[in-house]
C-alpha cells in the first residue's frame, strides 16, 4: 500500500431515509495510525455515517475508499448506491473491522469460534493458525481463560472485548467503533476503554463514534463534530473542545458537561 494513500477516504457521503436527509455531504480522511472520533448529539447522523463506511447502510451518493481501493458502486432505481461486485464488497468489509454498540457476538458459538469464524471461513486461514492468533488476541484483551465460554456467560464488558478481538482477528486496515461503551453498565466501561486506548497506542487506524469525551480527547488525532448531517467542526481535540467556535458546539459540549 502507498504510504501517502489515506487508509480510509470518505467522500461526499449523502444518505436519505425517506424524505429525511440524514447525511448531507460528509467527507473526511484517516491516515494510517489516525484515530478519528465522531461526536454529535443523537440524530446527528454519526452512527449512520459509520454504517455507510462498510455499506451496512447504502449511501445515496458518495464514495468510500479503503487503502486506495474504492468500493465499486452504481445507482439502483430507488436512488441508493449498490455495490457492483458483491465479492469486492465482501473483501472491502473484511478490511473494515466493525465493533457494535450491542457487541453482536454469535450466541451459539464459543468465544474461540466467534473469533476464528472470519479468519477460517473468509480469509481461509488454517484452524490451527487462526486459533493461535485468537489466543494471542484474547490475551491482549485480558480474556485468555474465556475461550470456551459462550457469550451469554460473559459480562457486557467481556463480550465487547471479545467483539474487539473478533474484529482484530481479520487484521483490518481500519477499525470502526459504533458507540462501543454505550450499552455497558458504568462499572464495565473502563475495561473496554483500556483496550481501545491500547489499540490507539499501537497506532491502529480507528474511526470511533462515541460519547466518551474524555477518551476521545485523550486518544483522537482528529475530532469531528457532526451536526444535522454535516461536519460542523473538525480538528484536534484541543481545537474542537477547548475553543468551541459556535453556539451549537458549545451547547453540545455544555450538555455533556452538565450530564
Amino acid at each position: 500500500m502507498d504510504t501517502n494513500q489515506p487508509a480510509l477516504s470518505v467522500r461526499d457521503i449523502h444518505k436519505q431515509f425517506g424524505n429525511t436527509e440524514v447525511l448531507r455531504g460528509v467527507s473526511f480522511e484517516a491516515h494510517s495510525g489516525d484515530v478519528v472520533s465522531i461526536i454529535g448529539s443523537s440524530g446527528s447522523g454519526k452512527s449512520t455515517l459509520l454504517r455507510c463506511i462498510n455499506f451496512l447502510e447504502s449511501p445515496n451518493s458518495g464514495e468510500i475508499v479503503v487503502g486506495g481501493e474504492a468500493i465499486r458502486t452504481r445507482k439502483d432505481k430507488t436512488g441508493s448506491l449498490v455495490p457492483v461486485d458483491k465479492a469486492q464488497l465482501r473483501q472491502m468489509r473484511a478490511r473494515l473491522g466493525m465493533v457494535f454498540q450491542n457487541f453482536n457476538l454469535w450466541d451459539h458459538r464459543t468465544v474461540m469460534d466467534n473469533i476464528i469464524e472470519g479468519p477460517v471461513h473468509i480469509l481461509k486461514q488454517s484452524k490451527k493458525q487462526a486459533k493461535e492468533q485468537a489466543r494471542a488476541l484474547l490475551d491482549k484483551v485480558g480474556l485468555f481463560d474465556k475461550e470456551d465460554h459462550y457469550p451469554s456467560q460473559l459480562s457486557g464488558g467481556q463480550q465487547q472485548r471479545v467483539a474487539i478481538a473478533r474484529a482484530l482477528a481479520m487484521n483490518p486496515t481500519v477499525m470502526l467503533f459504533d458507540e462501543p461503551t454505550s450499552a455497558l453498565d458504568p462499572e464495565l466501561v473502563s475495561e473496554v476503554i483500556t483496550v481501545i486506548r491500547q489499540l490507539a497506542e499501537e497506532k491502529r487506524t480507528m474511526i470511533m463514534v462515541t460519547h466518551e469525551m474524555a477518551l476521545a480527547r485523550e486518544i483522537s488525532s482528529k475530532l469531528i463534530f457532526l451536526d444535522q448531517g454535516l461536519i460542523h467542526t473538525q480538528g484536534s481535540p484541543a481545537e474542537v473542545m477547548d475553543n468551541p467556535d459556535s453556539d451549537r458546539l458549545r451547547q453540545f459540549l455544555g450538555m455533556l458537561n452538565a450530564a
Partner: protein, 237 residues
C-alpha cells in the same frame, strides 16, 4: 401364550416380518415426508418474510388453506386432484409420455409433506424472526456472503428457536403417516395392524401391538430430540 408367539412368527404363517417391515415403512414415509415438509416450510417461511407482496400472498394462501381444511380431506385433494392436474400438465408440456402417472407412494408422501409443510412454515417463520439481527449484521460486516450467513449464523439459531415446534411436527407426521393408508396399500403400521387383526380376529392383541410400535417411535424420537435440544442450546442461559 404360545399362540401369540406363533402369530409373531417370521414368514407366511406369522405376522412378525409384516410388523417388522411396517415399522420401517412408517419410519420411511415419515422421514421422507418430514424432510420434504421441512424444505417446503423453509421455502414458504422465506416467502412470508420476503419483500415481495406476490410471494407473501402465495405463502399466506398456502398456509391458510391447508391449515383450515381437515388433514384427511387435504391429503385426498392433493392425491386425487393436484397430482392428477400435475400429471396432465407434465403430459401436455411434453415432458412425459401420455401414460405417465405419479407413483401412489410418492404422491401419498408428497400429500403428507404438503399438509405438514404449512404448519412447518409457521414454526420456521417464528424461528427465523427470533434470530438476533445484530449477529446477522456482524456477519455482513465481517465479509460473509448471504449463503454463508444463512448456513452458519441463521440456520443454527433458527433451529434452536424452532426445535420444540419441529419436534411436535415430527411426532405429528409419524402418526399422520397412518392416514395415507386410505390412499393405498403401502404396508405401514396401522394398515398392517388392521390386516393382522382382521385376519386373526385378535383385535386387542394386534391393535395393542400397533400402538406399542407407535409408542416406540415416539420414545426413540424424544431421545433424539432431547439430544438435539442440548446440542442446539449450548451457550443459552
Amino acid at each position: 401364550m404360545a399362540e401369540f408367539l406363533n402369530y409373531m412368527a417370521w414368514g407366511p404363517k406369522g405376522w412378525g416380518d409384516e410388523f417388522f417391515f411396517a415399522f420401517f415403512m412408517t419410519l420411511k414415509i415419515s422421514l421422507i415426508a418430514y424432510g420434504a415438509s421441512f424444505a417446503m416450510g423453509l421455502l414458504f417461511a422465506m416467502f412470508k418474510l420476503s419483500n415481495s407482496r406476490f410471494l407473501r400472498g402465495i405463502a399466506g394462501t398456502y398456509t391458510t388453506v391447508v391449515r383450515a381444511l381437515p388433514e384427511m380431506l387435504m391429503i385426498l385433494l392433493v392425491y386425487f386432484a393436484v397430482a392428477g392436474m400435475a400429471e396432465k400438465m407434465l403430459v401436455s408440456a411434453g415432458l412425459v409420455g401420455s401414460e405417465f402417472q405419479f407413483s401412489p407412494f410418492w404422491t401419498a408422501v408428497f400429500a403428507l409433506a404438503f399438509v405438514s409443510g404449512a404448519f412447518m412454515t409457521e414454526v420456521i417463520r417464528a424461528g427465523l424472526l427470533a434470530v438476533p439481527k445484530g449477529g446477522i449484521e456482524a456477519a455482513w460486516a465481517i465479509g460473509m456472503s448471504g449463503p454463508q450467513i444463512f448456513r452458519r449464523v441463521v440456520m443454527p439459531q433458527m433451529m434452536r428457536h424452532s426445535l420444540s415446534g419441529l419436534g411436535n411436527l415430527w411426532l405429528g407426521i409419524t402418526k399422520d403417516s397412518a392416514i395415507v393408508s386410505i390412499l393405498g396399500a403401502f404396508g405401514e403400521l396401522l394398515q398392517t395392524g388392521y390386516r393382522a387383526a382382521a385376519a386373526t380376529k385378535e383385535y386387542g392383541y394386534f391393535y395393542g401391538l400397533t400402538a406399542l410400535l407407535f409408542l416406540l417411535i415416539t420414545i426413540l424420537s424424544l431421545a433424539v430430540l432431547h439430544w438435539m435440544e442440548k446440542r442446539l442450546n449450548r451457550g443459552l442461559l
